[in-house]
Amino acid sequence: MNAVESLYQSVILKHSRAPRFRVELGQGAAACHCRNPLCGDDVTVQWRAGPAGAIAEIGFTAEGCAILIASSDLMAESVLGLDRDRALKKARAFRAMLDDGPEIAEPTLASFAALRDYPARKRCATLPWQALESLMSGDMKCQS
Protein backbone atom coordinates (compact mmCIF):
# COMPACT_ATOMS: atom_id res chain seq x y z
CA MET A 1 0.00 0.00 0.00
CA ASN A 2 1.34 3.42 -0.92
CA ALA A 3 1.28 6.57 1.23
CA VAL A 4 -1.87 7.90 -0.33
CA GLU A 5 -3.68 4.61 0.06
CA SER A 6 -2.70 4.38 3.67
CA LEU A 7 -3.77 7.98 4.24
CA TYR A 8 -7.16 7.02 2.90
CA GLN A 9 -7.31 3.84 4.91
CA SER A 10 -6.03 5.15 8.21
CA VAL A 11 -7.45 8.64 8.42
CA ILE A 12 -9.66 9.73 5.64
CA LEU A 13 -12.19 6.95 5.66
CA LYS A 14 -12.90 7.21 9.35
CA HIS A 15 -13.30 10.96 9.36
CA SER A 16 -15.18 11.24 6.10
CA ARG A 17 -17.70 8.49 6.83
CA ALA A 18 -18.62 9.70 10.29
CA PRO A 19 -17.43 13.26 10.71
CA ARG A 20 -18.17 14.41 14.27
CA PHE A 21 -17.92 18.10 13.53
CA ARG A 22 -20.09 18.28 10.43
CA VAL A 23 -22.69 20.43 12.13
CA GLU A 24 -24.12 23.88 11.66
CA LEU A 25 -23.62 26.11 14.66
CA GLY A 26 -26.55 28.25 13.63
CA GLN A 27 -27.04 31.98 13.73
CA GLY A 28 -24.52 34.18 15.45
CA ALA A 29 -21.50 31.94 14.92
CA ALA A 30 -18.75 33.51 12.83
CA ALA A 31 -18.44 31.70 9.50
CA CYS A 32 -16.04 31.59 6.60
CA HIS A 33 -16.72 29.95 3.26
CA CYS A 34 -13.87 28.72 1.05
CA ARG A 35 -14.03 27.17 -2.40
CA ASN A 36 -11.45 25.32 -4.45
CA PRO A 37 -12.11 26.67 -7.92
CA LEU A 38 -10.05 23.84 -9.42
CA CYS A 39 -12.47 21.14 -8.42
CA GLY A 40 -15.52 22.98 -7.11
CA ASP A 41 -15.22 21.62 -3.58
CA ASP A 42 -16.36 24.00 -0.90
CA VAL A 43 -16.45 24.23 2.86
CA THR A 44 -17.90 26.59 5.44
CA VAL A 45 -16.30 26.69 8.88
CA GLN A 46 -18.13 28.20 11.86
CA TRP A 47 -16.99 28.87 15.40
CA ARG A 48 -17.87 30.46 18.71
CA ALA A 49 -15.43 31.78 21.27
CA GLY A 50 -15.67 30.83 24.93
CA PRO A 51 -15.30 33.35 27.77
CA ALA A 52 -11.48 33.38 27.49
CA GLY A 53 -11.58 33.77 23.74
CA ALA A 54 -10.64 30.20 22.96
CA ILE A 55 -12.49 28.05 20.42
CA ALA A 56 -15.47 26.80 22.39
CA GLU A 57 -17.50 25.47 19.48
CA ILE A 58 -16.51 24.64 15.94
CA GLY A 59 -18.29 22.96 13.05
CA PHE A 60 -18.29 22.76 9.31
CA THR A 61 -20.49 22.07 6.34
CA ALA A 62 -18.89 20.89 3.15
CA GLU A 63 -19.55 19.58 -0.31
CA GLY A 64 -16.74 17.62 -1.82
CA CYS A 65 -14.35 14.74 -1.68
CA ALA A 66 -13.38 12.55 1.24
CA ILE A 67 -10.13 14.43 1.73
CA LEU A 68 -12.00 17.67 2.28
CA ILE A 69 -14.48 16.15 4.69
CA ALA A 70 -11.82 14.28 6.65
CA SER A 71 -9.48 17.23 6.79
CA SER A 72 -12.29 19.52 7.95
CA ASP A 73 -13.28 17.09 10.67
CA LEU A 74 -9.72 16.57 11.85
CA MET A 75 -9.06 20.27 11.79
CA ALA A 76 -12.07 20.92 14.00
CA GLU A 77 -11.11 18.14 16.38
CA SER A 78 -7.52 19.35 16.70
CA VAL A 79 -8.22 23.05 17.30
CA LEU A 80 -11.20 22.76 19.62
CA GLY A 81 -10.26 24.47 22.86
CA LEU A 82 -7.25 26.31 21.46
CA ASP A 83 -6.96 30.06 21.65
CA ARG A 84 -6.79 32.09 18.44
CA ASP A 85 -3.05 32.33 18.34
CA ARG A 86 -2.39 28.65 18.77
CA ALA A 87 -5.10 27.75 16.27
CA LEU A 88 -3.64 30.18 13.78
CA LYS A 89 -0.19 28.71 14.29
CA LYS A 90 -1.48 25.23 13.71
CA ALA A 91 -3.30 26.29 10.55
CA ARG A 92 -0.14 27.86 9.22
CA ALA A 93 1.94 24.85 10.11
CA PHE A 94 -0.51 22.55 8.32
CA ARG A 95 -0.53 24.64 5.20
CA ALA A 96 3.26 24.99 5.31
CA MET A 97 3.63 21.23 5.63
CA LEU A 98 1.74 20.68 2.40
CA ASP A 99 3.88 23.32 0.72
CA ASP A 100 6.88 21.07 1.34
CA GLY A 101 7.44 22.42 4.85
CA PRO A 102 8.25 20.22 7.87
CA GLU A 103 5.82 17.56 9.01
CA ILE A 104 3.82 18.55 12.04
CA ALA A 105 3.86 16.58 15.24
CA GLU A 106 0.33 15.17 15.43
CA PRO A 107 0.50 11.92 13.44
CA THR A 108 -2.99 12.02 11.94
CA LEU A 109 -2.39 15.54 10.66
CA ALA A 110 1.09 14.61 9.50
CA SER A 111 -0.21 11.79 7.34
CA PHE A 112 -1.73 14.42 5.02
CA ALA A 113 1.80 15.12 3.86
CA ALA A 114 1.22 12.22 1.47
CA LEU A 115 -0.76 14.72 -0.62
CA ARG A 116 2.22 16.98 -1.25
CA ASP A 117 2.60 15.55 -4.73
CA TYR A 118 -1.01 16.28 -5.60
CA PRO A 119 -1.33 20.02 -6.10
CA ALA A 120 -5.03 19.83 -6.88
CA ARG A 121 -5.83 17.54 -3.97
CA LYS A 122 -3.74 19.27 -1.39
CA ARG A 123 -6.00 22.26 -1.74
CA CYS A 124 -8.87 20.04 -0.64
CA ALA A 125 -6.90 19.26 2.52
CA THR A 126 -5.91 22.84 3.22
CA LEU A 127 -9.28 24.41 2.39
CA PRO A 128 -10.79 24.10 5.89
CA TRP A 129 -7.51 25.30 7.41
CA GLN A 130 -7.59 28.28 5.16
CA ALA A 131 -11.10 29.09 6.35
CA LEU A 132 -9.92 28.72 9.94
CA GLU A 133 -6.99 31.03 9.28
CA SER A 134 -9.33 33.70 7.96
CA LEU A 135 -11.57 33.33 10.98
CA MET A 136 -8.73 33.46 13.49
CA SER A 137 -6.88 36.34 11.87
CA GLY A 138 -10.11 38.27 11.50
CA ASP A 139 -9.37 38.72 7.81
CA MET A 140 -12.65 37.42 6.52
CA LYS A 141 -11.77 37.54 2.86
CA CYS A 142 -11.26 33.89 2.16
CA GLN A 143 -8.56 33.51 -0.43
CA SER A 144 -9.80 30.36 -2.07
Binding site: E5, Y8, L13, G40, G64
Partner: protein
Protein backbone atom coordinates in the same frame (compact mmCIF):
# COMPACT_ATOMS: atom_id res chain seq x y z
CA UNK B 1 -7.64 -2.56 -35.29
CA UNK B 2 -6.14 -5.87 -34.35
CA UNK B 3 -3.43 -6.28 -31.77
CA UNK B 4 -0.32 -6.02 -33.98
CA UNK B 5 -1.72 -2.83 -35.55
CA UNK B 6 -2.37 -1.42 -32.15
CA UNK B 7 1.17 -2.15 -31.01
CA UNK B 8 2.48 -0.33 -34.07
CA UNK B 9 0.25 2.63 -33.34
CA UNK B 10 1.29 2.76 -29.71
CA UNK B 11 4.94 2.63 -30.72
CA UNK B 12 4.41 5.98 -32.42
CA UNK B 13 3.57 7.62 -29.08
CA UNK B 14 6.70 7.92 -26.95
CA UNK B 15 4.78 8.98 -23.86
CA UNK B 16 2.86 5.70 -23.74
CA UNK B 17 5.95 3.94 -22.40
CA UNK B 18 6.17 6.19 -19.36
CA UNK B 19 5.80 4.81 -15.85
CA UNK B 20 3.77 6.53 -13.14
CA UNK B 21 4.78 5.61 -9.58
CA UNK B 22 6.50 2.63 -11.12
CA UNK B 23 3.37 1.45 -12.93
CA UNK B 24 2.74 1.53 -16.68
CA UNK B 25 0.92 4.67 -17.64
CA UNK B 26 -2.71 3.91 -18.48
CA UNK B 27 -3.80 7.13 -20.11
CA UNK B 28 -7.58 7.32 -20.20
CA UNK B 29 -7.93 11.09 -20.25
CA UNK B 30 -7.98 11.44 -24.01
CA UNK B 31 -11.18 13.43 -24.00
CA UNK B 32 -9.30 16.21 -22.22
CA UNK B 33 -6.31 16.02 -24.54
CA UNK B 34 -4.71 13.32 -26.66
CA UNK B 35 -1.04 12.38 -26.68
CA UNK B 36 1.20 13.30 -29.62
CA UNK B 37 2.61 10.85 -32.15
CA UNK B 38 6.21 10.90 -33.33
CA UNK B 39 5.14 12.48 -36.64
CA UNK B 40 3.74 15.54 -34.89
CA UNK B 41 6.79 15.94 -32.68
CA UNK B 42 9.09 15.49 -35.65
CA UNK B 43 7.25 18.00 -37.81
CA UNK B 44 7.55 20.68 -35.15
CA UNK B 45 11.17 19.85 -34.41
CA UNK B 46 12.04 19.82 -38.09
CA UNK B 47 10.59 23.29 -38.48
CA UNK B 48 12.45 24.65 -35.46
CA UNK B 49 15.74 23.02 -36.46
CA UNK B 50 15.70 23.47 -40.21
CA UNK B 51 12.96 25.59 -41.63
CA UNK B 52 11.43 28.40 -39.70
CA UNK B 53 10.60 32.07 -40.20
CA UNK B 54 7.56 34.25 -39.92
CA UNK B 55 5.15 33.58 -42.76
CA UNK B 56 2.95 35.24 -45.37
CA UNK B 57 4.97 38.39 -45.97
CA UNK B 58 8.52 37.13 -46.16
CA UNK B 59 10.29 37.21 -49.49
CA UNK B 60 13.06 34.87 -48.47
CA UNK B 61 13.55 31.12 -48.64
CA UNK B 62 12.84 30.34 -44.98
CA UNK B 63 9.70 32.40 -44.94
CA UNK B 64 8.37 31.05 -48.22
CA UNK B 65 9.02 27.43 -47.30
CA UNK B 66 7.51 27.87 -43.85
CA UNK B 67 4.45 29.53 -45.36
CA UNK B 68 4.06 26.58 -47.73
CA UNK B 69 4.12 23.97 -45.01
CA UNK B 70 1.81 25.95 -42.75
CA UNK B 71 -0.67 26.61 -45.55
CA UNK B 72 -0.65 22.94 -46.52
CA UNK B 73 -2.34 22.29 -43.20
CA UNK B 74 -5.23 24.42 -44.41
CA UNK B 75 -5.62 22.10 -47.37
CA UNK B 76 -5.33 19.08 -45.11
CA UNK B 77 -7.97 20.45 -42.75
CA UNK B 78 -10.25 21.26 -45.66
CA UNK B 79 -9.77 17.72 -46.93
CA UNK B 80 -10.37 16.22 -43.49
CA UNK B 81 -13.75 17.92 -43.16
CA UNK B 82 -14.59 17.91 -46.87
CA UNK B 83 -14.87 21.69 -46.89
CA UNK B 84 -15.87 23.20 -50.22
CA UNK B 85 -12.73 25.33 -50.22
CA UNK B 86 -9.54 25.89 -48.25
CA UNK B 87 -10.64 29.46 -47.64
CA UNK B 88 -13.34 28.18 -45.33
CA UNK B 89 -10.71 26.99 -42.85
CA UNK B 90 -9.88 29.55 -40.17
CA UNK B 91 -7.09 28.77 -37.76
CA UNK B 92 -7.83 29.66 -34.14
CA UNK B 93 -6.26 28.67 -30.80
CA UNK B 94 -8.86 26.08 -29.86
CA UNK B 95 -12.56 25.31 -30.03
CA UNK B 96 -13.21 27.92 -27.40
CA UNK B 97 -11.80 30.68 -29.56
CA UNK B 98 -13.65 29.33 -32.59
CA UNK B 99 -16.99 29.58 -30.80
CA UNK B 100 -16.18 33.01 -29.39
CA UNK B 101 -15.26 34.17 -32.88
CA UNK B 102 -18.70 33.15 -34.11
CA UNK B 103 -20.37 34.72 -31.07
CA UNK B 104 -18.61 38.01 -31.83
CA UNK B 105 -18.46 38.26 -35.60
CA UNK B 106 -21.70 36.48 -36.39
CA UNK B 107 -23.59 36.89 -33.11
CA UNK B 108 -23.02 40.59 -32.58
CA UNK B 109 -23.42 41.58 -36.18
CA UNK B 110 -25.70 39.22 -38.03
CA UNK B 111 -28.06 38.26 -35.23
CA UNK B 112 -30.53 40.92 -34.18
CA UNK B 113 -31.97 41.68 -30.74
CA UNK B 114 -35.12 39.62 -30.42
CA UNK B 115 -33.48 36.63 -32.05
CA UNK B 116 -32.30 33.67 -30.01
CA UNK B 117 -29.42 31.23 -29.82
CA UNK B 118 -30.39 27.66 -28.97
CA UNK B 119 -27.94 25.39 -27.17
CA UNK B 120 -28.49 22.12 -25.32
CA UNK B 121 -28.31 20.97 -21.75
CA UNK B 122 -25.19 18.92 -22.43
CA UNK B 123 -22.86 21.65 -23.68
CA UNK B 124 -19.30 22.27 -22.61
CA UNK B 125 -18.80 25.69 -20.96
CA UNK B 126 -17.09 26.79 -24.16
CA UNK B 127 -20.41 26.49 -25.92
CA UNK B 128 -22.39 28.15 -23.13
CA UNK B 129 -20.45 31.13 -21.82
CA UNK B 130 -19.86 32.89 -25.17
CA UNK B 131 -23.62 32.86 -25.77
CA UNK B 132 -24.34 34.11 -22.26
CA UNK B 133 -21.94 36.97 -22.89
CA UNK B 134 -23.70 37.66 -26.19
CA UNK B 135 -27.07 37.57 -24.45
CA UNK B 136 -25.96 39.95 -21.74
CA UNK B 137 -24.27 42.38 -24.15
CA UNK B 138 -26.72 42.36 -27.04
CA UNK B 139 -30.12 41.28 -25.86
CA UNK B 140 -30.09 38.02 -27.77
CA UNK B 141 -32.14 35.37 -26.01
CA UNK B 142 -30.45 32.15 -24.92
CA UNK B 143 -32.55 29.00 -25.10
CA UNK B 144 -31.61 25.59 -23.81
CA UNK B 145 -32.88 22.34 -25.30
CA UNK B 146 -33.30 19.65 -22.65
CA UNK B 147 -31.91 16.14 -22.85
CA UNK B 148 -33.59 12.86 -21.96
CA UNK B 149 -32.54 10.74 -19.00
CA UNK B 150 -30.56 8.57 -21.40
CA UNK B 151 -28.55 11.59 -22.42
CA UNK B 152 -30.06 12.16 -25.84
CA UNK B 153 -31.30 15.45 -27.21
CA UNK B 154 -35.01 15.71 -26.39
CA UNK B 155 -36.10 16.12 -29.98
CA UNK B 156 -39.72 17.19 -29.51
CA UNK B 157 -38.60 19.83 -27.02
CA UNK B 158 -35.88 20.93 -29.43
CA UNK B 159 -38.47 21.34 -32.18
CA UNK B 160 -40.77 23.25 -29.88
CA UNK B 161 -37.99 25.69 -29.03
CA UNK B 162 -37.51 26.38 -32.73
CA UNK B 163 -41.21 26.76 -33.45
CA UNK B 164 -41.56 30.53 -33.13
CA UNK B 165 -38.89 31.12 -35.76
CA UNK B 166 -36.88 33.38 -33.51
CA UNK B 167 -33.86 31.14 -33.22
CA UNK B 168 -31.13 32.49 -35.50
CA UNK B 169 -28.46 29.98 -34.51
CA UNK B 170 -28.40 26.52 -33.01
CA UNK B 171 -25.02 25.97 -31.33
CA UNK B 172 -24.77 22.39 -30.19
CA UNK B 173 -22.26 19.70 -29.46
CA UNK B 174 -21.68 17.03 -32.08
CA UNK B 175 -20.56 14.65 -29.34
CA UNK B 176 -20.90 15.14 -25.60
CA UNK B 177 -17.61 15.14 -23.69
CA UNK B 178 -19.40 13.73 -20.63
CA UNK B 179 -22.06 11.34 -21.87
CA UNK B 180 -20.43 10.26 -25.10
CA UNK B 181 -23.68 10.98 -26.94
CA UNK B 182 -23.42 11.53 -30.67
CA UNK B 183 -25.95 14.04 -31.89
CA UNK B 184 -28.26 12.96 -34.73
CA UNK B 185 -26.59 15.85 -36.50
CA UNK B 186 -28.18 15.69 -39.92
CA UNK B 187 -31.66 15.60 -38.46
CA UNK B 188 -30.86 18.45 -36.07
CA UNK B 189 -29.48 20.53 -38.91
CA UNK B 190 -32.42 19.90 -41.22
CA UNK B 191 -34.87 20.75 -38.47
CA UNK B 192 -32.99 23.93 -37.56
CA UNK B 193 -32.70 25.05 -41.16
CA UNK B 194 -36.39 24.43 -41.70
CA UNK B 195 -37.04 26.77 -38.77
CA UNK B 196 -34.76 29.42 -40.26
CA UNK B 197 -31.82 28.85 -37.93
CA UNK B 198 -28.19 28.30 -38.87
CA UNK B 199 -26.22 25.58 -37.08
CA UNK B 200 -22.82 25.58 -35.40
CA UNK B 201 -21.55 22.17 -34.37
CA UNK B 202 -19.04 21.94 -31.55
CA UNK B 203 -16.99 19.08 -32.97
CA UNK B 204 -14.24 19.12 -30.33
CA UNK B 205 -14.93 15.50 -29.44
CA UNK B 206 -16.71 14.24 -32.53
CA UNK B 207 -14.02 14.79 -35.14
CA UNK B 208 -11.52 12.81 -33.10
CA UNK B 209 -13.46 9.60 -33.44
CA UNK B 210 -15.43 9.64 -36.67
CA UNK B 211 -15.19 11.16 -40.12
CA UNK B 212 -16.85 14.55 -40.43
CA UNK B 213 -18.13 15.78 -43.77
CA UNK B 214 -19.46 19.30 -43.43
CA UNK B 215 -21.07 19.26 -46.83
CA UNK B 216 -23.01 16.08 -46.14
CA UNK B 217 -23.92 17.27 -42.66
CA UNK B 218 -25.08 20.56 -44.11
CA UNK B 219 -24.07 22.63 -41.07
CA UNK B 220 -22.97 26.25 -41.23
CA UNK B 221 -20.08 26.37 -38.74
CA UNK B 222 -17.96 23.58 -37.33
CA UNK B 223 -15.44 24.10 -34.50
CA UNK B 224 -12.68 21.78 -33.33
CA UNK B 225 -9.42 21.83 -31.45
CA UNK B 226 -6.05 20.40 -32.48
CA UNK B 227 -4.82 19.03 -29.17
CA UNK B 228 -7.61 16.46 -28.94
CA UNK B 229 -6.87 15.20 -32.47
CA UNK B 230 -3.29 14.17 -31.59
CA UNK B 231 -2.03 17.63 -32.58
CA UNK B 232 -0.26 20.34 -30.64
CA UNK B 233 -1.97 22.77 -28.29
CA UNK B 234 -2.48 26.35 -29.42
CA UNK B 235 -4.22 25.53 -32.69
CA UNK B 236 -7.78 24.75 -33.68
CA UNK B 237 -10.07 25.17 -36.62
CA UNK B 238 -13.26 27.05 -37.30
CA UNK B 239 -14.89 26.00 -40.51
CA UNK B 240 -17.64 28.21 -41.88
CA UNK B 241 -19.52 28.56 -45.14
CA UNK B 242 -17.64 31.00 -47.27
CA UNK B 243 -20.60 33.31 -47.89
CA UNK B 244 -21.21 33.54 -44.16
CA UNK B 245 -17.58 34.20 -43.38
CA UNK B 246 -17.53 36.90 -46.01
CA UNK B 247 -20.59 38.57 -44.52
CA UNK B 248 -19.07 38.60 -41.03
CA UNK B 249 -16.85 41.46 -39.86
CA UNK B 250 -13.44 40.48 -38.49
CA UNK B 251 -12.96 39.57 -34.87
CA UNK B 252 -9.40 40.56 -33.90
CA UNK B 253 -7.59 43.41 -35.64
CA UNK B 254 -3.92 43.57 -36.51
CA UNK B 255 -1.30 42.42 -38.95
CA UNK B 256 -2.16 39.93 -41.71
CA UNK B 257 -5.93 40.48 -41.55
CA UNK B 258 -5.96 43.72 -43.53
CA UNK B 259 -5.39 44.53 -47.14
CA UNK B 260 -4.70 48.21 -46.46
CA UNK B 261 -4.53 50.48 -43.44
CA UNK B 262 -4.85 54.22 -43.09
CA UNK B 263 -5.62 55.88 -39.80
CA UNK B 264 -9.04 56.79 -41.16
CA UNK B 265 -9.95 53.38 -42.49
CA UNK B 266 -8.77 49.83 -42.97
CA UNK B 267 -9.75 47.36 -45.65
CA UNK B 268 -10.04 43.76 -44.57
CA UNK B 269 -8.19 40.94 -46.23
CA UNK B 270 -10.18 38.16 -47.84
CA UNK B 271 -11.24 35.11 -45.87
CA UNK B 272 -9.69 33.25 -44.18
CA UNK B 273 -7.02 35.89 -43.44
CA UNK B 274 -9.63 38.44 -42.35
CA UNK B 275 -10.04 36.31 -39.23
CA UNK B 276 -6.38 35.57 -38.58
CA UNK B 277 -4.79 38.61 -36.98
CA UNK B 278 -1.14 38.70 -36.03
CA UNK B 279 1.55 36.09 -36.28
CA UNK B 280 -0.29 32.77 -36.37
CA UNK B 281 0.54 29.64 -34.44
CA UNK B 282 2.97 28.65 -37.19
CA UNK B 283 4.71 25.72 -35.53
CA UNK B 284 1.40 24.45 -34.23
CA UNK B 285 -0.16 24.68 -37.67
CA UNK B 286 2.72 22.60 -38.98
CA UNK B 287 2.23 20.08 -36.17
CA UNK B 288 -1.49 19.93 -36.83
CA UNK B 289 -0.81 19.03 -40.45
CA UNK B 290 1.15 16.01 -39.26
CA UNK B 291 -1.66 15.08 -36.88
CA UNK B 292 -4.24 15.20 -39.66
CA UNK B 293 -2.06 12.96 -41.81
CA UNK B 294 -1.65 10.59 -38.87
CA UNK B 295 -5.43 10.30 -38.52
CA UNK B 296 -5.90 9.91 -42.25
CA UNK B 297 -3.27 7.20 -42.37
CA UNK B 298 -5.04 5.25 -39.66
CA UNK B 299 -8.32 5.97 -41.34
CA UNK B 300 -11.52 6.97 -39.59
CA UNK B 301 -13.10 3.62 -40.35
CA UNK B 302 -10.45 1.77 -38.40
CA UNK B 303 -10.46 4.32 -35.58
CA UNK B 304 -14.24 4.27 -35.25
CA UNK B 305 -14.43 0.48 -35.36
CA UNK B 306 -11.69 0.07 -32.76
CA UNK B 307 -13.19 2.64 -30.44
CA UNK B 308 -16.70 1.27 -30.81
CA UNK B 309 -15.50 -2.18 -29.76
CA UNK B 310 -13.48 -0.72 -26.87
CA UNK B 311 -16.46 1.28 -25.71
CA UNK B 312 -18.74 -1.72 -25.75
CA UNK B 313 -16.15 -3.69 -23.79
CA UNK B 314 -15.65 -0.82 -21.36
CA UNK B 315 -19.37 -0.26 -20.79
CA UNK B 316 -19.88 -3.95 -20.10
CA UNK B 317 -16.97 -4.37 -17.70
CA UNK B 318 -17.10 -1.07 -15.89
CA UNK B 319 -20.85 -1.43 -15.61
CA UNK B 320 -20.42 -4.74 -13.78
CA UNK B 321 -18.61 -3.20 -10.84
CA UNK B 322 -20.98 -3.16 -7.85
CA UNK B 323 -22.08 0.27 -6.71
CA UNK B 324 -20.97 1.86 -9.93
CA UNK B 325 -23.30 3.95 -12.10
CA UNK B 326 -22.61 4.85 -15.71
CA UNK B 327 -24.05 8.16 -16.90
CA UNK B 328 -25.21 8.40 -20.48
CA UNK B 329 -26.97 5.68 -22.42
CA UNK B 330 -27.52 7.20 -25.79
CA UNK B 331 -28.07 4.75 -28.63
CA UNK B 332 -25.32 6.36 -30.65
CA UNK B 333 -22.36 6.99 -28.39
CA UNK B 334 -18.58 7.29 -28.54
CA UNK B 335 -15.65 6.31 -26.37
CA UNK B 336 -16.27 8.45 -23.32
CA UNK B 337 -17.57 6.76 -20.18
CA UNK B 338 -18.64 8.84 -17.20
CA UNK B 339 -19.40 7.10 -13.94
CA UNK B 340 -19.86 7.53 -10.22
CA UNK B 341 -19.39 5.05 -7.41
CA UNK B 342 -21.52 4.84 -4.30
CA UNK B 343 -19.69 6.16 -1.27
CA UNK B 344 -16.75 7.43 -3.28
CA UNK B 345 -16.27 10.97 -4.49
CA UNK B 346 -14.99 11.10 -8.10
CA UNK B 347 -11.93 13.10 -7.01
CA UNK B 348 -10.97 10.40 -4.57
CA UNK B 349 -11.45 7.79 -7.27
CA UNK B 350 -9.13 9.72 -9.58
CA UNK B 351 -6.45 10.10 -6.92
CA UNK B 352 -6.49 6.44 -5.98
CA UNK B 353 -6.44 5.36 -9.63
CA UNK B 354 -3.58 7.72 -10.27
CA UNK B 355 -1.46 5.93 -7.69
CA UNK B 356 -1.97 2.84 -9.83
CA UNK B 357 -0.77 4.71 -12.93
CA UNK B 358 -4.28 5.17 -14.35
CA UNK B 359 -5.18 8.66 -15.57
CA UNK B 360 -8.88 9.47 -15.63
CA UNK B 361 -10.56 12.83 -15.28
CA UNK B 362 -12.86 13.68 -12.38
CA UNK B 363 -14.96 16.75 -11.90
CA UNK B 364 -17.61 18.64 -13.76
CA UNK B 365 -15.79 18.34 -17.11
CA UNK B 366 -16.58 21.98 -17.86
CA UNK B 367 -20.24 21.05 -18.04
CA UNK B 368 -21.73 22.25 -14.75
CA UNK B 369 -25.24 22.68 -16.10
CA UNK B 370 -25.21 19.08 -17.31
CA UNK B 371 -24.00 17.94 -13.89
CA UNK B 372 -26.92 19.77 -12.34
CA UNK B 373 -29.28 18.12 -14.81
CA UNK B 374 -27.93 14.73 -13.71
CA UNK B 375 -28.18 15.71 -10.05
CA UNK B 376 -24.43 15.37 -9.58
CA UNK B 377 -21.50 17.55 -8.65
CA UNK B 378 -18.95 15.54 -10.51
CA UNK B 379 -18.29 12.27 -12.29
CA UNK B 380 -15.17 10.31 -13.06
CA UNK B 381 -14.55 9.85 -16.77
CA UNK B 382 -12.51 7.42 -18.82
CA UNK B 383 -12.07 8.41 -22.46
CA UNK B 384 -10.46 6.44 -25.24
CA UNK B 385 -8.21 7.12 -28.20
CA UNK B 386 -7.02 5.21 -31.23
CA UNK B 387 -4.17 3.79 -29.13
CA UNK B 388 -6.27 2.60 -26.19
CA UNK B 389 -6.10 -1.14 -25.50
CA UNK B 390 -8.42 -3.68 -23.95
CA UNK B 391 -5.66 -4.26 -21.41
CA UNK B 392 -5.94 -0.66 -20.33
CA UNK B 393 -9.65 -1.06 -19.78
CA UNK B 394 -8.96 -4.20 -17.77
CA UNK B 395 -6.48 -2.19 -15.69
CA UNK B 396 -9.12 0.45 -15.12
CA UNK B 397 -11.66 -2.14 -14.04
CA UNK B 398 -9.16 -3.75 -11.66
CA UNK B 399 -8.22 -0.31 -10.38
CA UNK B 400 -11.82 0.58 -9.74
CA UNK B 401 -12.36 -2.64 -7.85
CA UNK B 402 -9.40 -1.77 -5.67
CA UNK B 403 -10.76 1.75 -5.12
CA UNK B 404 -14.04 0.21 -4.10
CA UNK B 405 -12.32 -1.98 -1.54
CA UNK B 406 -10.78 1.13 -0.08
CA UNK B 407 -13.67 3.50 -0.14
CA UNK B 408 -16.91 1.64 -0.31
Amino acid sequence: MNTPDLAAIRAQFPILSEKIYGKDLVYLDNGASAQKPRAVIDAMVHAMEHQYANIHRGLHWMSERTTDVYEQTRDLAAGLMNAASREEIIFVRNSTEAINLVAHSFGRHLLKPGQAVLISEMEHHSNIVPWQMLRDACGIELRVAPITDDGELDFPAFEALLADGKVGLVAITHMSNVLGTYLPAERVIQTAHAAGALVLLDGSQAIVHRAVDVQTLGCDFYAWTGHKLYGPTGIGVLWGRKALLEAMPPFLGGGDMISSVTFAHSEWARVPHKFEAGTPAILEGIGLGAAIKFVQNLGYDAIAAHEAALTEYGLAHIGEIPGLTIWGHAKDRGGVISFTMDGAHPHDIATLLDRQGIAVRAGHHCAEPLMRRLGLNATARASFAAYTTYGEIDALVAGLRRVREFLA
